[in-house]
C-alpha cells in the first residue's frame, strides 16, 4: 500500500527555494492504478521522484507497505520520460541493469521479459538503433525485470505519435493486469490519464495541490478507449483542469 500523508516538497536553497508540492495526501492499495495529471511544471514529477525515494519531502511522510521511502527500493521501478536508457548499453544490458545493480544475477528474468515484450531478437542492438516505441518498451523491460510491486511512470509516452502511444498504453494495461503491480502514472495527456487510471488525481499549478479526484471505475479494457464512459472521464478531466 502506498500512503502519501500531507507531503510538501521544495527544491533549491535560500532565495532560489521553490515549493513544488504543497500538502498532498493520497493512498493507493496494492494493485491500484493511479494517474496524476496537471499542467506542465506543476510538480507532479517531483512528487513521483519522492515516491521513488530520490527526493526527500520537507514535510509529511511517504510510505510503501508501511516503510518510509527515504531511498530507492528494489521493489519500486521508475520509468522515465525518454525511457532512461543508457546509450552505451545494448538492449540486453539495459534490460538487465536493475538486476545487475541489485547484485541479483537472475538473467533468466530479463530474458523472459525481453521475450514477453518481443525484444529478444534485438537484444544485441544499441538504443540508437531502435525506434522510439521500441526504446520505451526496453524501458518497460528494465522496470519489469525486478518484478516490482510498484511501477512509477513519469510521462512515459511523451513525444510519441498517437498510434504508437496507444499501442504502448495497451501494453501498460495488459502488464498491469498480468503482473498486479500498483501503477502510478504522471502525465499531462488527458486521454492517457483516462485510459490508465482507476483514479485520476488532478493537480493544481505550482505548487502542486490536489484539485480534485476523478473516479474511473470502468477502465481496464482495451476497448474502453472507444466507450462513452471514456469520453465522459475525458470531459470531466478537461473541466477539472480548466477550472
Amino acid at each position: 500500500m502506498i500512503r502519501i500523508d500531507d507531503v510538501s516538497i521544495a527544491y533549491g536553497r535560500g532565495l532560489r527555494r521553490v515549493l513544488a508540492v504543497n500538502g498532498v495526501s493520497l493512498e493507493a492499495e496494492r494493485g491500484d492504478s493511479l494517474a496524476l495529471i496537471g499542467p506542465s511544471g506543476c510538480g507532479k514529477s517531483t512528487l513521483l521522484f519522492s515516491i521513488a525515494g530520490l527526493l526527500t519531502p520537507c514535510a509529511g511522510t511517504i510510505s510503501i507497505d508501511g516503510q518510509p521511502t527515504s531511498k530507492p527500493r528494489r521493489d519500486v521501478a521508475l520509468i522515465l520520460q525518454n525511457a532512461g536508457l543508457l546509450p552505451w548499453k545494448t538492449v540486453w544490458q539495459n534490460a538487465n541493469l536493475s538486476l545487475r545493480l541489485g547484485r541479483e544475477p537472475r538473467e533468466k528474468t530479463a530474458a523472459d521479459v525481453l521475450q514477453e515484450l518481443g525484444l529478444y531478437d534485438v537484444r544485441d542492438r544499441f538504443p540508437s538503433e531502435l525506434s522510439e516505441g521500441m526504446k520505451r518498451r526496453v524501458g518497460v523491460a528494465r522496470a519489469l525485470s525486478t518484478s516490482p510491486s510498484v511501477m512509477l511512470m513519469d510521462e512515459p509516452l511523451a513525444s510519441l505519435d498517437t498510434l504508437t502511444r496507444e499501442r504502448i498504453q495497451d501494453l501498460f494495461l495488459r502488464l498491469w493486469q498480468k503482473h498486479g503491480f500498483s501503477l502510478l502514472v504522471v502525465t499531462h495527456d488527458i486521454e492517457e490519464a483516462a485510459f490508465l487510471g482507476q483514479r485520476i488525481i488532478v493537480l493544481s499549478d505550482l505548487p502542486a495541490t490536489v484539485k480534485t479526484v476523478v473516479e474511473n471505475p470502468e477502465m481496464g479494457d482495451l476497448a474502453f478507449r472507444r466507450s462513452d464512459a471514456f469520453h465522459n472521464t475525458v470531459g470531466a478531466l478537461r473541466e477539472a483542469l480548466e477550472q
Binding site: F49, G53, P72, L80, G84, L86, L101, S128, L130
Partner: protein
C-alpha cells in the same frame, strides 16, 4: 574450354580478411590516409621549390631527400624513435591515469568541485613551460624529467576535459541508475565512466600534438640524450637530416592517433552503429 578456378583455403582466408576490412570501412580509412600523405608530400615539394626559387638556396629540403635520409639513417633514427615513443606513451599514461579519475571526481562531486576547481583555474592558465626549471631541479636531467615535463602538461589538459565531460552528463542517465538503487561506485561504473569516455578520447587525441611539442622541449633542454627532439636539434645544420627526424615525429604522432581511433572503436562501440533513420 577452361575449367572453373578453384579457391585454395589460403586464398579463401585472404578473401575473407579483405571482405571484413572492406565491410568495416578500414580500406576507405587506409585510402584516406594514403591520399592525405600524397597531398602533404606534394604541398611540401611545392613549398620547397618556391623557397628555393625565392631564396636561391634549398632551405627546405624536398620530401624525397628527407625520405632518402630516413632510409639512410634508419638504424639510428629508429633508436631515437623508440626512446621518444616510450617517453611520450608513458607520459600520456601517467597523465591519463591521474587526470581522468580526478577530473571525473571534481566534475561529478559538487563539494569537491567547490574546493578544487579554484585551484585548477589558478594553475591551469600558467604556461606549463614555466615549471620546467622546477622539474629539472626535482627530477635531475635523466629520463624521469623528460617524462615528467610531458606528463605535467598533459595532466591539466586531461583533468580539465574530464571535469567538463562529467559536468555534461545527462541527468536522465543518472536518475535512471539511481532510481534502481545504484551505489556511488555503480553510478561511476555504469554512467560517469562510459558517458565521458568519448570526450576523454578526443582530449587524448589533442594531447598527442601537445605532448609532442612538450617532448621536443624536454628532449632539447639541458641535455642531448637520445630522442627525436635532440636528433632534430643536433641536425640543425643538415636540413635534410633534421627533416628526417621531423618525419619520424609525424609517424609517431600518426601511430598514436590510429591507436586512439582503434581504442574508441572498441570502447565506444555504440557511437559507430548505424543510427535509426540515418
Amino acid at each position: 574450354m577452361t575449367s572453373p578456378k578453384m579457391e585454395t583455403p589460403n586464398q579463401a582466408k585472404k578473401a575473407d580478411w579483405f571482405e571484413r576490412l572492406r565491410r568495416q570501412g578500414a580500406l576507405y580509412q587506409i585510402a584516406r590516409y594514403v591520399a592525405s600523405i600524397v597531398l602533404l608530400l606534394a604541398c611540401w615539394e611545392i613549398a620547397s621549390l618556391i623557397i628555393t626559387a625565392v631564396k636561391g638556396r634549398a632551405l627546405l629540403p624536398d620530401p624525397f631527400r628527407a625520405i632518402s635520409e630516413v632510409i639512410r639513417l634508419a638504424p639510428i633514427l629508429f633508436q631515437h624513435f623508440w626512446v621518444s615513443a616510450w617517453r611520450l606513451v608513458l607520459a600520456m599514461l601517467l597523465a591519463f591515469s591521474a587526470g581522468y579519475p580526478l577530473g571525473l571526481l571534481i566534475g561529478h562531486e559538487r563539494k569537491l568541485d567547490e574546493i578544487i576547481s579554484p585551484i585548477i583555474y589558478i594553475v591551469y592558465p600558467i604556461p606549463q613551460v614555466a615549471f620546467i626549471l622546477l622539474l629539472f631541479l626535482v627530477f635531475g636531467i635523466g629520463n624521469p624529467v623528460k617524462v615528467a615535463i610531458v606528463a605535467v602538461a598533459l595532466f591539466f589538459q586531461i583533468l580539465v576535459s574530464a571535469r567538463g565531460a562529467a559536468k555534461l552528463i545527462e541527468q536522465e542517465h543518472l536518475t535512471s541508475v539511481l532510481s534502481a538503487g545504484a551505489s556511488r561506485w555503480q553510478v561511476y561504473r555504469h554512467v560517469v565512466l562510459p558517458s565521458t569516455l568519448p570526450s576523454i578520447l578526443t582530449s587524448l587525441r589533442v594531447s598527442v600534438g601537445l605532448g609532442m611539442a612538450f617532448l621536443y622541449i624536454a628532449e632539447t633542454t639541458a641535455t642531448m640524450a637520445p630522442g627525436l627532439g635532440s636528433f632534430v636539434k643536433s641536425s640543425q645544420f643538415n636540413q635534410a637530416q633534421a627533416f628526417a627526424g621531423i618525419l619520424m615525429m609525424a609517424v609517431l604522432g600518426l601511430i598514436l592517433y590510429i591507436v586512439i581511433d582503434i581504442l574508441e572503436r572498441v570502447l565506444c562501440r555504440w557511437k559507430y552503429v548505424r543510427r535509426r533513420g540515418s
